[in-house]
Symmetry: D2
Subunit: 346 residues, 4 copies
Amino acid sequence: MLAVLKPEPKPGAEIRNVAIPKIGPTDVLVKVKVASVCGTDLHIYNWDPWAQRRIHPPLIPGHEFCGNVAAIGSEVTTVKEGDFVSAEMHVACGTCFQCRTGEAHICQFVKIIGVDTDGAFAEYVRIPESNIWKLDPEIPQEYASILDPLGNAVHSVLAGEVAAKTVAITGAGPIGLFAIAVARAVGATTIFAIEVNEHRRKIARAMKAAYVLDPASEDVRTIIMDSTAGLGVDIVLEMAGHPDAIRTAFNIVRRGGRISLLGLTSKPIALNFSEDIIFKGITIQGINGRRMYQTWYQMQALLKAGKLDLHPVITDRISMKDFGKGMERLTTGEASKILLYPNGVK
Amino acid sequence: MLAVLKPEPKPGAEIRNVAIPKIGPTDVLVKVKVASVCGTDLHIYNWDPWAQRRIHPPLIPGHEFCGNVAAIGSEVTTVKEGDFVSAEMHVACGTCFQCRTGEAHICQFVKIIGVDTDGAFAEYVRIPESNIWKLDPEIPQEYASILDPLGNAVHSVLAGEVAAKTVAITGAGPIGLFAIAVARAVGATTIFAIEVNEHRRKIARAMKAAYVLDPASEDVRTIIMDSTAGLGVDIVLEMAGHPDAIRTAFNIVRRGGRISLLGLTSKPIALNFSEDIIFKGITIQGINGRRMYQTWYQMQALLKAGKLDLHPVITDRISMKDFGKGMERLTTGEASKILLYPNGVK
Amino acid sequence: MLAVLKPEPKPGAEIRNVAIPKIGPTDVLVKVKVASVCGTDLHIYNWDPWAQRRIHPPLIPGHEFCGNVAAIGSEVTTVKEGDFVSAEMHVACGTCFQCRTGEAHICQFVKIIGVDTDGAFAEYVRIPESNIWKLDPEIPQEYASILDPLGNAVHSVLAGEVAAKTVAITGAGPIGLFAIAVARAVGATTIFAIEVNEHRRKIARAMKAAYVLDPASEDVRTIIMDSTAGLGVDIVLEMAGHPDAIRTAFNIVRRGGRISLLGLTSKPIALNFSEDIIFKGITIQGINGRRMYQTWYQMQALLKAGKLDLHPVITDRISMKDFGKGMERLTTGEASKILLYPNGVK
Amino acid sequence: MLAVLKPEPKPGAEIRNVAIPKIGPTDVLVKVKVASVCGTDLHIYNWDPWAQRRIHPPLIPGHEFCGNVAAIGSEVTTVKEGDFVSAEMHVACGTCFQCRTGEAHICQFVKIIGVDTDGAFAEYVRIPESNIWKLDPEIPQEYASILDPLGNAVHSVLAGEVAAKTVAITGAGPIGLFAIAVARAVGATTIFAIEVNEHRRKIARAMKAAYVLDPASEDVRTIIMDSTAGLGVDIVLEMAGHPDAIRTAFNIVRRGGRISLLGLTSKPIALNFSEDIIFKGITIQGINGRRMYQTWYQMQALLKAGKLDLHPVITDRISMKDFGKGMERLTTGEASKILLYPNGVK
């Protein structure tokens, strides 16, 4: 089969012919219809320090996809050939304390398909039955390959109360953009999107954030304080991972508010604990993955009800063989969410 | 001043000239612009058994209103003459356990203005400063007199998680109808309104409930089970107080779901605790009043953000002198929320 | 092997020689060391209406036990022969909405070992690997067979906040008695045990409830109001399932309090919803089984820390062949928790 | 009256004769029986950078005390002359968003008696009626002056679930020591106290922490991992405010755990957000003051029930005139909680 392969520990990737994965008794083989590209894939492509530590080539990346079941293992009972499916790509161990207490999304021994084992940038991908998500036919098909990052957004937004609250989102990459839609759908009142890249701000406006702010040219804190009766925002969803964005998050959250951190940082960042956290009595949460499988049910319910318009985020549809060009457009920020078709765009 | 007066312990009420209330140092006198009529006012008018136990005439009823501050007591600091205000009409004692632990809405010694003391069906009403709610100029004025029942709806809907959940509302009086709007605004996915009165079902459709069901002619449980993959609804908001509606509530809620009870009942109702509650692992909540003052902030935020269209519920605008006619239209269900103008409709 | 067998649909049970259960690839065969007897087993023995509906003889009852692994299926990895184990006897389907969202204890398709399939009143019992609970060597062995009902108590107590709160327990069967110990261990301040049976009240005193009340001869409500500054109790754990106890529960809970219902009822019970639930703003929860597996971790942690003294509840230790005599002592209330030894008391 | 006075903006304090405070209509004048000394008082005494920014001499410090009502304002109704009382010394504005939504402990406009206005290191102190806490006669009198810091401990421990969980406390000053007692009382299983000062470690042992660790000589992380099956602790209560302690907090908390921050820091501290917070999915809370007045009710309930033995923390009882000597013993760590008697130790 054709696949995007990272053959060696160095920058770049190749389109190669490789063997179709073999499945065991509890596995499902899925013929990939659409895969989509995440910032993580760019890190792997660029072979940055994180990728150098975590990735062990040869590897087929890709952890966002949808497709049809091509074959099932002998013990698989919940799906059959032909079913249209996506999957949770965090494979939890199932037996650790976190897994047995409803916190599998922070399993101690998690393996990520497309990061730790071969992923979905290929004609076929192997998935354990437990992780398959059978797609409800009422979910718009164009969203079927982006449930993984949409799940990050849903998990972040719903990690605390949000109805009738103000929300600021720092960083308008695909997850931040999805979070605008999710927060609107579940009753956030005023949404502020804060982003330095003009391409991304343009999409944030299309997603109907009430305020789209450029921290390079606008006084974000003053604008937010003026718009919130001097309180600050109830909730900050930090999705940039940049020191300036994190600084902003702590500056704009109100006393008693919540900061949910999703954006990964590459360096330590200094906080004034007394002023930033303690006197304000705020709550800070680390957000990882998606809850298994509450987040998936929540996503499905919101999508089926037509509560989420995510079209502006899908900027590119390309053939898998043009993977390298996609990486270029991601780097400049011109592309937001890129859909990848293993056998050409249909 | 002109007022609706219940002069004696018997059915009916009169339009009378009475003295303007005198205010103490911590009171505010408000010139009523619009008052609105609640089902409770109909109970008082009809002098039903509840009213006979609770009401001590002479009494001016009315506990939903907006107006402008006409005078303030010597120690009042938070409002001034001319301010446009509404008020929380449950006057909590401020010193009991519930009041001192953030549960003033279930104060042990609460007094309700318009029920226990003279209310807002008059040209002027006296309100303690602590209970005044200064109206944000961005809130649509047509909604300013209905914040009390809207608050009941907001409190009911937000008494648990609601985002991405299905909601059934049994009873489509004004609070049930408002609850449709609130639930939609905060991310409920499918909303079922269940109501026997055709006038009310018509308004429920205008409020955009996904399903508006007549329990007299439709198999409510089957329809709901079919629409929820056999699960039942996540949340039931019981706003009818009728035994049949309560029976329905327990029949349609899913395992692990929530029933929030607001509708007052007049007789004991039998439950099969094992089957209805324990095996299903559900949660049942008694909902009383509005949280002071979280609910008010939530309402204000939703209204300012334009998230609630409540117009279909406001069916009648009448002059205070026509109070009796309003009572007739409430009785048949032709009227839902009636706005009352002390000095004639403007 | 020897087993307690219910051979036919009629009262009673027999000690019989039956085949040792065969295990599949994901099963574990456990040699039972101690089993313990639950009120459910008495219902089955007496063949009451509930048993007639639910039980399909022939059946080996018994769902509380500990023992050593005697054999494992070919795919079992988490335990090995000789391990000392107990088990969660509610076998959840693993794929329904409740199972996939952390609510497996209210699985739609649950099967209970010892109720729906052969149980632990035998020399050997078959358990799916997923349900095995490997016993920490620091847990006192004498408690290893009673984790199932202790789990009911832990789940009930910890179904809401309990620290620094007052707790009333209606019904002092084994689970109610365990709940006294658990509530004390996690910071309940004053504990009231309410029970009509003198044998049980005696044990409740040994468990150190602050007040042990006989509703037949004492004015429970007055005593509780006097002891709680007129508030009522913060939490009622209803573990009797009797109409009088349920009535008491609603009479003694404070405004804003919680009633957790565990005791199964056989007939409908009437409530005055307005007075009992709505005006008081209380929360009522149905409690079923134990959370999988949070409750097990909580139990284990409390037992390891020496926070629970459960000895007074274990009144009888008998040989399996004397099962019938045990049933008699349960009926009179002389026995509370009976330990059953398949091969004679050691 | 005699008082400890900070007359000028420089180190030290003096015992002086000053005028008894005048009270307004809503104030209560309390004759101080015992006051106790907080670390904050040492900062004020030493005139450190924080004190230089916050304190405006002349000032009488002191914000922990008990005493008897000596006089009441004309509008005071809830206490009378002679009543034995303590007080919440954070005077909240009562009208800001936080105050009106049950979050008065993080009021935007809070004033602290003994920091912003004259406090309790004097024969008399003036307190607004709203802040008076009437002491239940069943509370041990020796604890009546230390409810303020005990409240910090109770608020920290109960800021999340704690029953059946492991707890580490970094920093064993008086609040950290109280937190040991509180955590034990509400069902924490294993408690680790981490403290560099030997005097304080000695008291931590007397408070019955399971492990008392010296981070200067012991490998705290390894010991904790070994004692928690490699998980880390469920909860860290950070009460030192020192960079090393904060670093330890993040190193020892388990995936999905909670860190509650109370100890004030003087300099920014760097965190690796990805590793420390996001991948671990932890929650961090800023803890400020005490909840008004839930924390007070919780404290009272725990003390009345005899659940807290705080005696080891009270190391010194001195006459107010020896205030300077007390400051010396606090500095070395020899003294933990010092009780101060305005008219000599009784």
